[in-house]
Symmetry: C2
Subunit: 352 residues, 2 copies
DNA sequence: CTGTTAGCGCCTTCAG
DNA sequence: CTGAAGGCGCTAACAG
């Protein structure tokens, strides 16, 4: 194995000066050539690029952003990754950001974590580590988001209604959660529900609160009610769905709910699991409806009726908003609300 | 709304000099106080910290790492986020890294992407943006990983066997894929399989290749064979499983496979979907076994027998290895191989 | 078109 | 224990 021109592991990093010396030009010319500055004559540019490649040169991002005040990184703050909504959002965001040359710093919350670590991590996003933050569906938005804004950080809020005064300092991409709840209620009513139930997520989640408001309004409009003893509340995870449903379904046959609205598909998974464990037929004994239309809602083993919100489009809109705002911080703040629709599947279709 | 001491949006960032001036000390003292340098007298420290907080000061990470050559960030490179294995790994890694004060830069591949963007993103991890890279299960490891190593970047390879010469320049955390494949074969044989089939992922994935090797060896040991027409190959996603199974199951009844080994649970989802669509009973008509033991394999609607590898423990080991290597790059390279075990569930239990 | 010069904000000797 | 001075690697004027 003879020597080669590429750098060897652990070596001192090669700087722009090293390249300049080797190419017989000045360091500024190296800088310009590498950034594609038009004022460099093609011959010189090619020479520099070749030498740089041979030496394994790569710009030091810290030094660059110390001057430019741009990092070419954005942060994505999300809820628990195990909730399949988030991978979809993150994947879409990342795709767009990478395409535009931005790196993605991930900060995801954990359903079972005490929270301190999460907030510290979000707070750590100030200090010029990223050019902006896409805040999606994580809990406890207000205080930390406020801090980010106070630090001058652009924030786009994706898939989360904000209740506080943040509304007019951030770009927001949401969908019509009230309408979604209403659609769910109407569909359950139309497929014959008489004793609807609901499995809810945390009360302090404004998006879920809106779904709930729409659901209740929808039921009322259809002449149905949602008494307190047919509501269960917990985290957004299947465990909550499972425990809530085991409890709800233990009611005597005549009082047992005949339909369950799950505020998210992820919760619905647990409800379906409970039905299976208890030998209840879905939708024969109980109808189940979710919210989000995750990929797996359509598998034949799941076959879950659900309210679809266009998560991919929403994430794309959020990425676009973020990039636009980084370009021009003075832009007016936008609030786009996407439409939702109902996707009927086997978990509510009644035989006859 | 009166004035306040906190910074206002879009303001010029406050620097260590600003804090120094306001506190009546030197910038070096500010730096020392904020890093908890023991040589600062408590009174001074508190003063500085208070002033810094009031002014909304936060260290400029670029300037710091320009000197220290440490970024307090690590990259996690993973496969397609929609494959539920990755959220589990990423979540675990992130937890540990955040606990140790490291940010996480995410680069995830996409099953449907052409690949160029992914490799560019990985290549962009050189240049001092991160202190190390955890490379987990993404495709095309060799060339890009080699480049990272050549650039002096520590790399930990998680849950991916490497076939090339990289082995002795990286830390590796894997599990016994050959044994896992063997366990699957033995279990299928023991539950009465006569005509086993296999739905495989890409051929160039060394971990999957080992599972396959173990599976074939296990079948042979049990007196079973795996003819070519009972093997289907595609991506690691449910679509592959669905299409492969629809095809496999279309064979005349006497020749139809009576058991399917899926190289990952994610593929198995599609196979179960196919069985459901065709009205085949699992495991009555066909047994199905997966690999990974994802959360949802245990839900009653799925109830998938699978080979478990301890993904959480493996991710923890990878994070620990990464942190250790950042501390001391001269450490000997480790290769930990975790045990796997079989988790029997309903998708293979034969009645009688 | 290219080179020279001056910092970006911080850490780190070295003096006091 | 604290301050002063230099420089990390790069970009961005400003000259030539």
């Amino acid at each position: 194995m003879g020597d080669s021109t590429v750098s060897t592991p652990g070596r001192e990093p090669v700087t722009g000066y090293d390249v300049a010396r080797a190419a017989g030009v000045s360091q500024s010319t190296v800088s310009r050539a590498l950034r594609g500055d038009a004022r460099v004559v093609p011959d010189t540019r090619e020479l520099v690029l070749r030498v740089a490649r041979e030496m394994g040169y790569v710009v030091n991002v810290s030094a660059r952003s110390l001057i430019t005040r741009r990092t070419s990184s954005v942060a994505v703050v999300s809820g628990d990754l195990r909730n399949p909504s988030f991978p979809v959002l993150i994947d879409t965001l990342q795709r767009r950001f990478h395409a535009d040359g931005y790196r993605v710093v991930l900060v995801s919350d954990q359903e079972d974590a005490s929270g301190g670590g999460f907030e510290d991590s979000v707070a750590g996003l100030r200090g010029g580590i990223v050019d902006g933050v896409v805040y999606t569906s994580a809990r406890t938005s207000s205080p930390v988001v406020g801090d980010l804004l106070d630090a001058g950080m652009p924030v786009v809020v994706l898939n989360r209604d904000v209740d506080s005064d943040l509304g007019d300092r951030v770009d927001r991409i949401t969908s019509d959660n009230v309408e979604g709840g209403r659609l769910a209620a109407r569909h359950l009513a139309e497929t014959g529900a008489r004793r609807p139930a609901m499995v809810a997520g945390p009360r302090d989640n404004p998006s879920l609160a809106r779904r709930e408001r729409g659901f209740r309004a929808g039921l009322r409009a259809c002449g149905l009610s949602l008494p307190r003893d047919r509501v269960r509340r917990g985290q957004v995870d299947p465990r909550t769905g499972l425990e809530a449903a085991l409890d709800l379904f233990s009611a005597p046959a005549g009082e047992r709910p005949d339909a369950v609205f799950c505020q998210t598909d992820y919760i619905a998974l647990g409800v379906l699991d409970a039905a299976g464990r208890l030998g209840l037929s879905v939708p024969g004994d109980v109808a189940v409806i979710g919210y989000n239309d995750l990929d797996w809602a359509g598998w034949s083993m799941i076959d879950l009726t659900t309210v679809r919100q266009p998560l991919v489009q929403m994430a794309e809109a959020a990425a676009a908003a973020m990039l636009a705002r980084i370009e021009d911080p003075a832009l007016p703040f936008v609030h786009r609300v996407f439409d939702v629709d109902l996707v009927p599947r086997g978990s509510t279709r009644r035989p006859r």
